[in-house]
């Protein structure tokens, strides 16, 4: 699917306006320009996420044994490089494996861990845990953080596209990440659910079925 983005134009010309006509704008005018710029950035993120969702739902999957712990290490390593100087206590259970699509599982883990990373912001230290447990005799993967959590009153909505449980000014995001997660888990005939409370962190559980 081709994505031709007029967004570069919008941000570029807004920037041009800001640079060359700033003296003719009053303070309020400058605020409006900043808003156009930041909204354009959000639109770009949204388009990227939607493209990802589209690709995930179209993806053909080659099932293979995937080293889940290694993927988690990779994602966390990348997040660590972006969020320099952040104090994060990580606990990743080694040696976890699953049968599934490597590419899709990596996207799934990225989304869950990015969420944990994002919502544990402001905790000192932030704690993020990844592991596997057994619930009702079934192996279940989980990510757990000690972040702001959320209210479990409408858990069904959690995985819906564009659904956001936090106001935008607190945590940036497009509300598509968990839809992507759900798509991928369903692709693997698994289930995904969450357990959380306001200000007491969140845990996301998911299962991966080896057979279709």
């Amino acid at each position: 699917m081709p994505s031709v983005l007029p967004l570069l134009g919008i941000s570029g010309w807004t920037q041009a306006l800001k640079e060359e006509y700033i003296e003719r704008l009053d303070e309020q005018g400058c605020v409006y320009l900043e808003r156009i710029l930041s909204e354009t950035g959000r639109m770009g993120q949204l388009i990227d996420d939607l493209l990802m969702l589209f690709r995930v739902s179209e993806a053909e999957m080659v099932r293979e044994e995937v080293d889940i712990s290694e993927l988690v290490e990779g994602v966390v390593d990348r997040l660590g490089k972006i969020g320099q100087g952040r104090q994060v206590e990580l606990s990743i259970q080694p040696g976890l494996k699953a049968i599934g699509g490597r590419y899709l599982l990596e996207i799934l883990l990225s989304n869950l861990l990015e969420n944990a990373w994002k919502f544990a912001r402001g905790r000192s230290p932030a704690c993020i845990e990844f592991g596997q447990t057994v619930i009702d005799e079934e192996p279940v993967f989980f990510t757990r953080d000690n972040g702001v959590g959320f209210d479990m009153q409408c858990p069904g909505k959690l995985f819906g596209a564009f659904q956001r449980l936090h106001v935008n000014s607190e945590f940036l995001g497009t509300g598509i990440g968990l839809s992507i997660v759900q798509h991928i888990v369903h692709h693997h005939n698994g289930r995904v659910w969450a357990d959380a409370a306001v200000d007491r962190g969140a845990t996301f559980y998911f299962t991966i079925q080896e057979e279709t």
Binding site: S3, L5, L8, G9, S11, D48
Partner: protein, 148 residues
């Protein structure tokens, strides 16, 4: 360095002007020749167009090629450029908003020298233009001119 021409093949007027702006912000003062569709790009490079005099249109040092060009798309332009001895070694940088993995793979497959994704953020775009200008116009040793 100013005798080195940059050919920009880009169908969108806004993007043409933004690229011009980014070049000037990066203090890249080379002559910029703009063509707005794939046919025009080939006419310029092959000297086949009505307005184009082969002798008066020296080969550019660098081609910035968008993939979504009207008339003949960028990948086809690239394919034809690589078929002709005169333009076979011409440095071609794909400059596009396409994020398709397939476009990246095909571009390299057809002999693109570099692939730059246009970002949403204009200052990042300026930075990309600055770096690619520096690299292709100053640091890189260009291919020897074609014979004949």
């Amino acid at each position: 360095m100013s005798s080195k021409i940059i050919l920009l093949a880009e169908g969108n007027v806004s993007d043409i002007e933004l690229t011009r702006r980014a070049l000037s912000k990066s203090h890249i003062t080379n002559e910029l020749v703009v063509v707005e569709d794939g046919q025009e790009a080939l006419d310029y490079l092959f000297g086949t167009g009505e307005q184009v005099d082969w002798k008066k249109s020296p080969l550019p040092t660098l081609v910035l090629l968008d993939l979504k060009l009207p008339k003949i798309d960028g990948l086809e332009v690239l394919r034809r450029i690589r078929q002709i001895p005169r333009t076979r070694r011409l440095p071609i940088v794909i400059l596009t908003s396409s994020r398709e993995e397939q476009d990246v793979a095909e571009s390299y497959g057809l002999g693109a020298n570099s692939y730059i994704r246009k970002t949403v953020d204009f200052s990042q775009f300026v930075n990309s233009i600055k770096q690619l200008g520096l690299y292709w116009l100053v640091i890189n040793e260009p291919p020897p001119p074609p014979r004949g």
